[in-house]
């Protein structure tokens, strides 16, 4: 297994578009207000490269029986509702992720290192070095 990557950029992916389904409008509003203050604070601290919600629409192109097929995007536990792109260390990215106001309602935050070279290139290099 390759050594873990250290990066100075991390993407928080907010997963699960169902977290608000059982909440009252007031509860949802409360989460949104806290989310906005959270993001505003991080932005003031200069940590945010970009941050946006993704609309619950769109398309998916997936491979089905040998042909790429268009389909509608569907809400699900794996669906991504938005992202933050942060310029921080991994530890800090995780601490920030823990502050997400929707976590207690079942939203999941994935913290991923952003790099310039994709993992497949690294695997190629490793394989070449082994030969």
């Amino acid at each position: 297994m390759s050594t873990p990557v250290t990066s100075s950029e991390y993407m928080l992916l907010f997963k699960g578009t169902h977290w608000d389904h059982d909440l009252s409008p007031e509860e949802v509003q409360d989460v949104m207000t806290r989310w906005t203050s959270w993001l505003d604070r991080l932005t003031r601290e200069g940590k945010v490269k970009s941050a946006q919600p993704l609309a619950n629409q769109g398309k998916i192109i997936a491979w089905k029986k040998g042909v790429p097929v268009d389909g509608p995007f569907a809400e699900s536990k794996e669906a991504i509702g938005g992202y933050f792109l942060l310029q921080v260390s991994e530890e800090e990215a995780v601490e920030i992720a823990k502050e997400c106001p929707a976590l207690k309602y079942g939203l999941v935050v994935e913290v991923r290192p952003v790099v310039d070279r994709c993992a497949s290139i690294d695997r190629l290099d490793l394989a070449a070095a082994a030969n």
Partner: protein, 124 residues
């Protein structure tokens, strides 16, 4: 067409196991196609930013108290391998572009999502 009428979309590339079973030559060739594709989109002013995500990282959940685990190490069809931000006319154009993704030949899927521009701060 002018930049003012363009809308932002995010392409999410799902499937971190696309290269399993491929020869180094096939992988290298696909990566070269990918780079050429991305470079062309950037030169056309349609791609704003695009980066791969590594398979390392953490997953934070909070439904039953805060829990942080390592992940998503396992290569999977759902895991997000990278993204590209586009500025194009509409969903149809974004979809046309997504159909050119070299990873599609190997089982990767591409998600095309409109970005809610009114809220949030986009890549410059």
């Amino acid at each position: 067409m002018s930049a003012d009428t363009a809308s932002p979309f995010m392409l999410l590339f799902r499937g971190t196991d696309w290269d399993r079973g491929l020869s180094p030559e096939e992988i290298e060739q696909t990566l070269r196609r990918w780079t050429a594709w991305f470079d062309r989109l950037t030169a056309d002013g349609k791609a704003k930013l695009g980066q791969p995500l590594t398979n390392d990282g953490k997953i934070v959940t909070g439904k039953k108290g805060l829990v942080v685990v390592d992940g998503p190490f396992t290569e999977s069809k759902e895991a997000v391998a990278g993204y590209i931000f586009l500025r194009v006319a509409d969903l149809d154009e974004a979809t046309e572009i997504a159909r050119e993704c070299p990873g599609l030949d190997y089982g990767m899927s591409v998600e095309i999502r409109p970005i809610s521009e009114e809220i949030g701060r986009g890549p410059d």
